[in-house]
Structures are given as structure tokens and as C-alpha cells.
Symmetry: C2
Subunit: 220 residues, 2 copies
């Protein structure tokens, strides 16, 4: 009998996907990620955990070819920024304030059918914590949450056999300007190009370099 229970207990899915993926340097220009697969990746990013559940970032999906080409010059001329099926720009929010937090707690109350004000204590705690931080510290906090979603979307993409390349090597100010992010209180933080690897990308054959587990794990 092959029931869903058996299927889900098969070992080592996530690990296999992580081993399969690599930082793609050249995508196949003729292959597009399907709309369904793109939605799957984005939905996984939306499901990723964040501090307090505040989701303080947006996922900017750039498919406009001219926009992508304009970004290449702000990313050390890395070709895969312009040539991919979609460029996902994780952009941290710079507007996490009492209003934003109140929208979140209202969403909690709606989702869980709670009376208005039921989570006011939680709201006040979050407002106190976050508005006491400097603007710079709050940005770093929001950016860190985006990295959880980045890791999540890389796994979701690999699950679907979609290649991907995460990159920090770009000029956020240039990205903010070209994509009009600042006007929407967003700050380009980290990017993920997705698509299908080109057969010409020799780096797909390079052995993955990782530490031995004993060199990264400490047991106490």
C-alpha cells in the first residue's frame, strides 16, 4: 500500500533539494518558470516565519526585461541579474510603525475571529519593542526576516526543479531607484534570480563546498 503517509515519510527531501541546487551563473534564456511554480515559490515565501509574524518585507518580482537589464549595472555586471526567468528582489519595509503593527493585529483578530482589541497587549508590546529601536536597527531587523524567506524560497524552487541564484552583490540605492522602492518605503535587501540552468553553465558541475558537520556544530 502506498498511502500519502508513506510518501511524506520518505527521508531526505529537503537535504536532497539543497544538495541539488547551486548558485546558478547562467540561465537558459529559452526556458520560463511556469506561473504555477512561481506562485508556489512566492506562497512559500509568504508562509516563512518572521519576527512576531510581522512580515516586514515585500517580494518584488521583476520580469520586465528592460528593468532587469537596467539593474545589471548596479550588480557588478553579473549577467544572471538580467538573464533569468524572474528576478525576486526581497525588499525590507522601512515603515514598520504603530500603524503598520495595528494593521497586523487587526489581521490576527480577523483571521482568528477574535473581538477587536483582543490582542492589544501584544500590539503594545510590539510597538514598544520596535519603535524604541533606531531606524538603522529596525531596518537590519526587517532585513534579517527577509533572509528567512530567502532560504525558504530557495528550497521551494529547488523542490520544483527550478534553479536559483541568491545575490547580495548589488547596490541597493540603484535598485531602489530603478524599481521605485523608496517611494513605497521599501529597501532592496537581497535578490534571488530563478529560472533553468543553461547547459553552458560549467559551475553546475562543481562539487559543493561545505564544512564537515563537526566544524560548524558545537554541542553543549
Amino acid at each position: 500500500m502506498f498511502t500519502p503517509t508513506h510518501v511524506y515519510s520518505l527521508p531526505m527531501h529537503t537535504k536532497n533539494w539543497l544538495k541539488w541546487r547551486y548558485a546558478t551563473k547562467k540561465f537558459d534564456a529559452t526556458k520560463e518558470v511556469s506561473a504555477d511554480d512561481l506562485e508556489y515559490i512566492l506562497e512559500a515565501g509568504n508562509l516563512a516565519a518572521t519576527s512576531y509574524g510581522l512580515q516586514p518585507f515585500k517580494i518584488v518580482v521583476v520580469t520586465d526585461k528592460e528593468k532587469k537589464q537596467a539593474l545589471v549595472g548596479h550588480a557588478y555586471n553579473q549577467g544572471q541579474v538580467g538573464e533569468n526567468s524572474a528576478l525576486l528582489v526581497l525588499a525590507a519595509r522601512t515603515d514598520v510603525d504603530a500603524t503598520y503593527i495595528a494593521e497586523y493585529t487587526a489581521r490576527i483578530e480577523r483571521t482568528r475571529s477574535l473581538p477587536a482589541g483582543a490582542v492589544d497587549g501584544y500590539k503594545d508590546m510590539m510597538v514598544g519593542d520596535l519603535t524604541n529601536r533606531t531606524e538603522a536597527d529596525r531596518l537590519v531587523w526587517a532585513q534579517k526576516q527577509a533572509y528567512i524567506a530567502l532560504g525558504t524560497m530557495m528550497i521551494a524552487a529547488a523542490e520544483k526543479g527550478i534553479d536559483n541564484a541568491p545575490m547580495e552583490g548589488f547596490n541597493p540605492a540603484g535598485f531602489n531607484e530603478i524599481l521605485g522602492l523608496s517611494a513605497h518605503n521599501l529597501h532592496a535587501t537581497v535578490i534571488l534570480a530563478i529560472g533553468y540552468r543553461s547547459t553552458e553553465d560549467e559551475t553546475q558541475n562543481y562539487a559543493k563546498v561545505r564544512k564537515n558537520l563537526d566544524d560548524i556544530v558545537v554541542r553543549i
Copy 2:
């Protein structure tokens, strides 16, 4: 026919795991994560992508009950910090310097059977980039990478049916002291408690609160 190909193409594993998991508030004190499952989660964390592949953090696995209890007071008395099967403390490295980077490039050369010095250009580029940053900026950079591994380990845990609770609400200085991290050039960054949910944890029944996809995704 039910072949492995069919199994791996079943849709929506990652998404289902993300939907299943929740920030566990109370673990079942009688249930331990198996050694195999713990290794699986740690191996997934080790496979997570990092900037340049530098893996600038360690995963500190705390199972010593007294140590865990000592940490609770530095984590706003959150019970799940002390009561869990294992507490994973992601600790950013503060020693990412030319020596550390040279160890990494030597590992690349060994793993890929390259002659010594084959990736010296890459090494010099990384050293130039990272040593030009302030100590504070380099710490933030290392911490962000740890968050990718955090997201990765949450999925790996959920795949195995292991509950987990990520937390930022703790005092890093207290953690550094109790776990002796500073002496090893490590800085407590974010924590993940793992174990099995207690039937008494009512929050497992709360509906997950997330944005509509249109409220977190921008398409350009």
C-alpha cells in the same frame, strides 16, 4: 506504477510543511528528537547557502538541561527556551578575516581537486570586500547568513514532523556568557527550540496569520 520520480514530483511538500509548523510555545517534556533527525536538521543547516559560501556562523546545540534553564532568564522567561528536546543557538562568527577566508579557499581547492592558489583571485576579492567593512557591519552580514540557515532548518524539522520555535527575544550577552561563545569569537544571533508539541499547547490550534499574496508581492 509508483516510482521515486512520482514521489518526488508530488506537489506542495515545502508549502505543506510550512503550513503545518507553528511557533511552538510548549513542548512535550517526555518526547526527544532522535539523533538521526537532529543530524538531518543540522546537515540541512550546513547545506544552506551563505554569502560567498563562507558559512560565517556556528550552530550551537544545547541539550544540557542546566545550561538551558540558565538561559531562560536571559530570554524573557520564555519556558520553551528551557523545555525542549534541543535548543539550537545560531551564533555568528566575529572572526571572518583573511585567515578564515584562506581556510575556506583551501577547502574549495581540496573539494574540487584544484591546485593550491587556483582561487586566489576569489580569495582576494572576498578579503577586500569583507575586511573593508566595519566590525558592526560584518557582524550584521554574518547574522543575515545565519537567518538563511534558520529558515532552512525550520523546513527540515517540519519535514520530519518536528515542532520548532524560532526566537529573537533573548539577551545575546547573557547567552554568550553562559555558553562561552565570545571566547570562541561567536555571537548569539537567533535561536530555534525543537521538540514535539505538548497537547497542552493551545496555540497549535490558532489559525496561521499571513498576508494575502497580493499584499506582499509586487510585480514589475
